[in-house]
Amino acid sequence: MYVRCARVGKVYATGRSAVQAIKSVDLGVREGEFVSLLGPSGCGKSTLLMIVAGLETATSGAVTVAGRPMDEPRTDIGIMFQDPTLLPWRSILENVLFPIRMMRRPIPTYRSRALELLAEVGLGDFAEHRPRHLSGGMRQRAAICRALVHEPRLLLMDEPFSALDAITRDEMNIALLRMWERHKITALFVTHSIREAVFLSDRVLVMNGRPSTIIADVRIPFARPREFAIGDTPEFNALCGALRDKIGEAYRAAGTEVH
């Protein structure tokens, strides 16, 4: 297993009270696998992802990535958030090279890689533009490039397309799959959209309410590379329906709508 969480729990101590965000999570992600974490808002998906990223420490249990325990941020990991968090005063290319600059690696060495990545997501002509001149989807594409520029082996994504409109979101799913296939990277993807999880993943892990655990581990059998048309097949919709039934309970418990 490339990523392994064993009985991971997290309690946030906030002043006098304590919030148990995750009760106990066991999960494994194989190298090169695309795994989604699916669950209602507030069930601890982000917390779990931040623990895997080494940005939060688990209060119980253990996390290993590539066999090494995760107790601080590591540069073999790329990360993406709901917001692209680009620096508005820097060009798209400079934004993509931001991790390289922070790591004090030689920029010229990575410049061509950054430009290649931008070309792969269709932003070849926008390298010198400022983020303000790009649409939301294009900015998130730039964020994909930034997450990949330092050649990480694990890509962690926290609802990266939740803020985008439905049409752009579909395009982004395709773009992400192409990048994942091309760069043969292990991916852990957080979402609360069932269709998105099914379309993207090899496996979908369903988390339930608070404090959360993983209540289902569903294999998605569709062949790769996937085209968006699979979303219209009965098999796809049946799988989505089954997942919906499985987690309906959890969603109702958390009082959230199902997308």
């Binding site: 080494g54 958030f81 620096l87 991790p99 600059r101 303000r132």
Partner: protein, 272 residues
């Protein structure tokens, strides 16, 4: 076809009319305040003329203007130290404000140690400290600068701290995940993000710097516009005193304008 011709002419006329209405609409934000100011000055002039109030009590604007031009070399000479000291106090306040803000944001310990004291210090009415600065630093420009700096730096500090902390949580996570040091985050992310906040602080600070220097000149100086205003008043030269105030307004406008211009340029850079 005369009717069509007339119609098109009428259309052209309305177009021209609309255009002039639009131009007027656009100009009102400038015209209205200017007209108000001119009306006020005319009323002031008329009041002085008809009421026969003594010019030492209230000189008419025309007399102030006459003094301003007649004594321009003198007034200008006095405006130079005031301007330079205001600028120096402002720049020192920027450095001190940004520096302290960086320290406070970088280190929680330093913040805990400094912040309550800075706020407490700030609660002292600053004017009450002016005599102490004279005792400590004499009556030279050091004591005026220190006083002006003391008046000026706090808003700068507060604005900069707010700016440095106004960074997206996920951006900070990204920085940590790529191994950025606190100093890297400070200079690559926090300070550039804080630019709009820093300029809001600067706009307050530049006006406070002038106030600080003028008050300092009231107390200690032998030159500068503050000194000239006080000196002229004590000689019952009210018109000259007001002429010096006119110069002070000009100095204030120029300095504030320079900061506002800088803000505009930096905003363009910041927003991309």
């Amino acid at each position: 076809m005369p009717t069509a011709h007339a119609a098109s002419e009428a259309a052209l006329a309305t177009q021209a009319e609309q255009r002039s209405v639009r131009t007027f609409e656009r100009a009102t934000p400038y015209l209205l305040p200017a007209a108000t100011a001119i009306a006020f000055i005319l009323a002031w002039e008329a009041f002085c003329y008809f009421s026969g109030v003594h010019p030492v009590i209230l000189p008419p604007p025309s007399a102030v203007l006459a003094k301003f031009f007649r004594f321009f070399p003198l007034i200008f000479a006095h405006s130079v130290p005031t301007t330079l000291e205001s600028l120096a106090a402002f720049l020192l306040a920027c450095l001190l404000g940004c520096g302290l803000a960086a320290v406070v944001v970088l280190s929680r310990r330093m913040r805990e140690a400094l912040w309550p004291n800075l706020v407490f210090f700030q609660l002292i009415p600053k004017i009450a400290l002016a005599p102490l600065f004279i005792v400590w630093l004499g009556i030279g420009s050091e004591s005026r600068l220190t006083f002006a700096l003391f008046v000026t730096f706090f808003p700068m500090l507060v604005a900069t701290v707010a700016g440095l902390e106004h960074v997206d949580r996920d951006m900070l996570r990204l920085c940590r995940s790529v191994g950025a040091t606190r100093l890297q985050v400070l200079f690559s992310v926090r300070f550039p993000s804080a630019v709009p906040f820093i300029f809001s602080g600067m706009k307050i600070s530049i006006t406070l710097a002038i106030i600080g220097v003028i008050v300092g000149e009231f107390i200690t100086s032998q030159r500068g516009l503050g000194y000239l205003i006080l000196f002229a008043s004590s000689r019952q030269e009210t018109a000259l005193s007001m002429a010096a105030i006119v110069m002070l307004c000009i100095v204030g406008l120029v300095l504030y304008g320079a900061v506002a211009l800088g803000e505009r340029i930096m905003k363009k850079w910041h927003d991309g």
